[in-house]
């Protein structure tokens, strides 16, 4: 919970971007059929497409409806933002068909309309504190996050968290006060490229979240991370993933991250991501995270 300019408290988050993974949405327009067809599990995607089509109803040649195809390499239901990724790709695909670019903020607003709560991955040109249930940017914290290596893991392999099924966390006054302090610290961390401070803020936020969606291994993962000169641990507040943060500029960051990944697998957890490793460090298959429309 963070105060906006008027002092009103809004739920908000800062998203850790993961540019190696993504969703691709293909929009097949139809001039005949109203409505949007897609596979049944993609309710949010259909809603996003319909909302975006409505935005273009005054366009000279609007599509009436159509079909959406999603391909994504983001694991679902563990807090890696898979649905926001699908929804964002869908909104951009429909907009692209109409040849009208939507602003990042506009995409963010539509995404929240479609799925009630969104990450801020569509605002990809800066670091923002994003009111994920209102679809507005509360604050631009800076241009970009400092260079980090993040070892992501699933703390409950097999479990699934439904963002919308979660009761929004009922933060107390003390926690709300602490969030203001985290916001100020992150502002400085981004402005001064301070990964240590980013890590401390992430750790503090993770600990606050323990009361609501606990990660049993949080302190163990933190000790592991700090033991390899890492900076802290971030968690999904509506998911089971956690990420160990390292300062990519330190020479021991890559070996430390790789050793941590081994230990984490030894704990029986599943590695979900290795973000920011120098090219060629490990063999990974990367999938383009762009969202394109067909000709």
């Amino acid at each position: 919970m963070f105060a906006d300019e008027s002092g009103k408290l809004r739920r908000a988050l800062v998203t850790l971007p993961h540019s190696d993974r993504g969703s691709r949405a293909v929009f097949y327009p139809s001039q005949h059929h109203w409505g949007v067809v897609g596979t049944p599990e993609l309710t949010k995607v259909r809603r996003a497409a319909i909302l975006t089509l409505r935005e273009f109803s005054t366009h000279p040649a609007p599509a009436k409806g159509g079909q959406i195809e999603i391909t994504s390499d983001i694991p679902r239901g563990i807090g890696m933002g898979s649905s926001t990724s699908d929804v964002t790709a869908t909104i951009r695909a429909v907009a692209d068909y109409h040849g009208v670019p939507l602003s990042r903020e506009e995409v963010g607003r539509l995404a929240v309309l479609a799925e009630c709560a969104s990450d801020s991955i569509m605002i990809d040109d800066r670091v923002v504190l994003f009111a994920h249930r209102d679809g507005v940017v509360l604050e631009t914290l800076g241009h970009r996050l400092p260079p980090m290596i993040v070892v992501g893991c699933d703390t409950e392999p097999g479990a699934r968290v439904d963002t919308l099924g979660l009761q929004p966390a009922d933060y107390d006054d003390r926690e709300i006060g602490a969030f203001g302090v985290l916001r100020a610290a992150l502002r400085r961390a981004v402005a001064t490229d301070d990964v240590d401070l980013v890590g401390r803020v992430a750790t503090a936020s993770s600990r606050i979240n323990q009361r609501f969606l606990p990660k049993e291994q949080l302190e163990e993962l933190l000790a592991l991370c700090l033991g390899y000169h890492g900076c802290g641990v971030q968690v999904a507040h509506s998911g089971t993933v956690a990420g160990l943060i390292f300062d990519a500029r330190r020479p021991d960051a890559t070996p430390g991250a790789l050793r941590c990944a081994e230990t984490i697998e030894g704990m029986g957890l599943v590695i979900t991501a290795m973000i920011g490793l120098p090219a060629g460090t490990v063999a990974t298959t990367t999938v383009s995270a762009t969202e394109k429309v067909p000709a």
Partner: protein, 346 residues
């Protein structure tokens, strides 16, 4: 991102400290009027929650700067403020409060001839006044959890300005500023050290109650807002040493502060020198105007035999905080509860 904008009201401009570097690893958080932080927060929150109706009178027992802060915020909120004080209230402060439209009642020496003395007599009078009003609100700075909570704003400023804070040194009265500021800093910096500065004759850290010369520091009754587990170390300072340090703060750094600031500076300066790699912040609660004719006046110091005194350059460590001592003392509190240290509940 932010262009500079105006403050919406004077009390907003008053509340946050200026962060000033005093040495390689020592920074001051210099407040004009630190008590504005809780006073403004508590009253604005009460107003937001509908507890300050147009006719509601704000009543509090105080003879110090918390009263001044309430009086100032009362102007913005257009609410009457009644403060209950003892006869020792500073005349300059009283005049300022009166000019702000605040009523200051002083309990008589006769009324204070009860168990608990002036403090009890003042609380009784507050209850009487509240009962007489149709609607009254008492901020209760010593027990209201909004007091420490209000200092989150100070922690935000410190973290944004400095990033790392290894140690905070500050005077302890109600407990709000130290417990609040350090408590919130520790959300991000759990190892941040807290050094509380108290004075002889104050019960806060276990001393027997006694006469206290140093105004604004130390308490005769234990405030509920002191969370003893905040503190790593406690120091007790004497009045003349605090006065001398207050003057040095002015002479060396041009910071014109009151004697509680001097006491905190004395301890912080020593600690920062002992720990050159630790970034240390000292809380300086208010300005020196009220003390111009007192500690800032050499003749006044000379009358008391304080002028030119040689003061210790370091504290004497003690192992029992409940024993009466003299001079500058320090004790390793170790973030324990009061009863863990003193052996009985506060």
């Amino acid at each position: 991102m932010g262009i500079r904008t105006s403050f919406s009201e004077a009390t907003e401009a008053y509340q946050l400290p200026r962060i000033v570097q005093l040495g390689p690893n020592l920074y001051a958080a210099a407040f004009m009027l630190m008590k504005m932080v809780p006073a403004r927060y508590i009253l604005r929150r009460a107003a937001d929650e509908g507890r300050l109706e147009p006719g509601t009178v704000i009543v509090e027992t105080t003879s110090g700067t918390f009263g001044l802060a309430l009086a100032m915020q009362g102007v913005h909120l257009d609410r009457r403020v009644i403060l209950v004080s003892d006869p020792a209230i500073d005349e300059r402060l009283h005049r300022r409060m009166a000019d702000l439209g605040t009523v200051v009642e002083r309990v008589s020496p006769e009324a204070a001839k009860i168990a608990g003395g002036y403090q009890a007599a003042r609380l009784n009078r507050v209850r009487e006044i509240m009962a007489e009003q149709v609607s009254a609100f008492c901020p209760e700075q010593y027990s209201n959890p909004d007091n420490p909570r209000s200092y989150a704003a100070v922690s935000e400023l410190l973290l944004e300005t400095l990033g790392q804070v290894d140690c905070v040194v500050g005077p302890v009265g109600s407990g709000g500023s130290m417990c609040g500021t350090v408590g919130y800093l520790r959300a991000v910096l759990p190892e941040c050290r807290a050094i509380g500065v108290d004075t002889h004759g104050s019960v806060v850290f276990g001393q027997p109650e006694g006469d206290r010369e140093l105004r604004g520091l130390g308490m005769g009754l234990m405030p509920a807002n002191v969370d003893h587990t905040t503190f790593d170390d406690v120091h007790w300072c004497t009045a003349p040493a605090a006065y001398a340090a207050t003057r040095q703060l002015h002479q060396r750094h041009a910071l014109f502060m009151g004697p509680t600031s001097g006491a905190a500076y004395l301890v912080a300066r020593w600690w920062a020198r002992q720990n050159p790699s630790a970034l240390t912040v000292v809380l300086l609660p208010d300005e020196g105007h009220r003390y111009l004719d007192l500690l800032y006046h050499d003749a006044w110091l000379a009358e008391r035999g304080y002028l030119g005194l040689a003061h210790p350059v370091e504290p004497t460590p003690i192992d029992d905080p409940t024993r009466l001592g003299d001079g500058w003392l320090s004790y390793e509190w170790g973030r324990r509860r009061y009863d863990e240290v003193v052996g009985v509940a506060a």
